[in-house]
Amino acid sequence: MFEDRPDLVDRIVTHLRRPVQIDPALDGRVMQEIAQVDTGRRSGAAVAAWRWLTRPRQFTVSPLGALATAAGLAAVVWALPGRGVRAVPPAENASQEFQFVVVAPRAVQVALVGDFNDWDATRTPMRPSQRGGPVWTAVLHLSPGRYRYAFLVDGSRWLADPAAPHARDDEFGAPSSVVTVGGS
């Protein structure tokens, strides 16, 4: 297009090669424009908070102050829950299902009573076997711990569980048994 005007091409090239003076405040104006565009998207308080949070600062701390801060942090970490001699496993509070069985021939009703039901004979009646035999059963969910219990036959006769340890500290003249529920 300009092949026949070499002088014109030379003038353009010379013009383009000439150094250009840029206003030193240009960068500032550009960043201000950008900041204004950003401000339009957020609330003023949020922007101010963000700037306050992200603005670098310098702190001067005396050696004593640094030691006090470290001691405070160590105390907080030491006092966190779960710290200490014992670490309770998560399963400690998980309940387990237990089936209690007793053989009581000729019984009309059998109740399971113990620490888990306030020793209330009406709360956990046992069920006879489906064939009508002498085997009575009850199923309970128990949390980890040690429970004393006994079987009450026909409202008057106490039976300990022959398949469980007997309570050694029986002070009431009627036998009791002990079931221990573990957590691990």
Binding site: G84, V85, R86, A87, V88, P89, E92, V113, D115, D118, W119, D120, A121, P144, G145, R146, R148, L152, W158, P165, H166, A167, R168, D169, E171, F172, G173, A174, S176, V178, T180, G182, G183, S184
Partner: protein, 222 residues
Amino acid sequence: MTSSLPRTPKSVAAAGALAAVLFATAAAQEPQHLNDPRLARLDTAARSLVAVAIDSARAAGLPTEPLVQRALEGATKDAPGTLIVSAVQRLAADLGRARAALGASATSPELEAGAAALRAGAGPAVLAQLRRSRRQTITVPLAVLTDLVASGVPVDSAAAAVLALAASARDADLIDFRRAVERDIALGAAPTAATAAAAAGVFGANALDVNAGARGARPGRP
């Protein structure tokens, strides 16, 4: 400075006076557990004394539910009121001894199991050693110790076996261990020999030195 510092002692004094008044008011009232409807199954005299014992235990930071349950057990078994009161008071004392041995961080089940172990004849030192040797809860080791003694195992042998196992055994392992001891005793083994044999069975023959010479006495199983 002149406005804030002089107020602090006054505020503390006022709070202290208020706390004293509240404490005196609470102390003048009836035992709190008299209002527990479950204790209505006791006769009036026994109920009052049991409520006092329970409130004292609560004030001492001891768990009260085991005491309530012991009283209810006595009531359901138609025990005399005096027997129920003495049983509750004795259990409260045992719970206090258990806490002294196990420390203030002991849980209610641990204290209850610890009280039973003390009643079975285990010394407070055994409880404290068990506390130190096991990171998990020691409710089951204490219960197993008590049950072994109830099965006829001498308390020293039972304590040695449980202490040897408790550091690394799971609760389920300890309960299996107790069952094995009881089964062998039922089959005719001497309680000490049954304990040593079952303990060796949990972790292998070389893992334990509790009455090692008695292992050969373990009876055969069906």
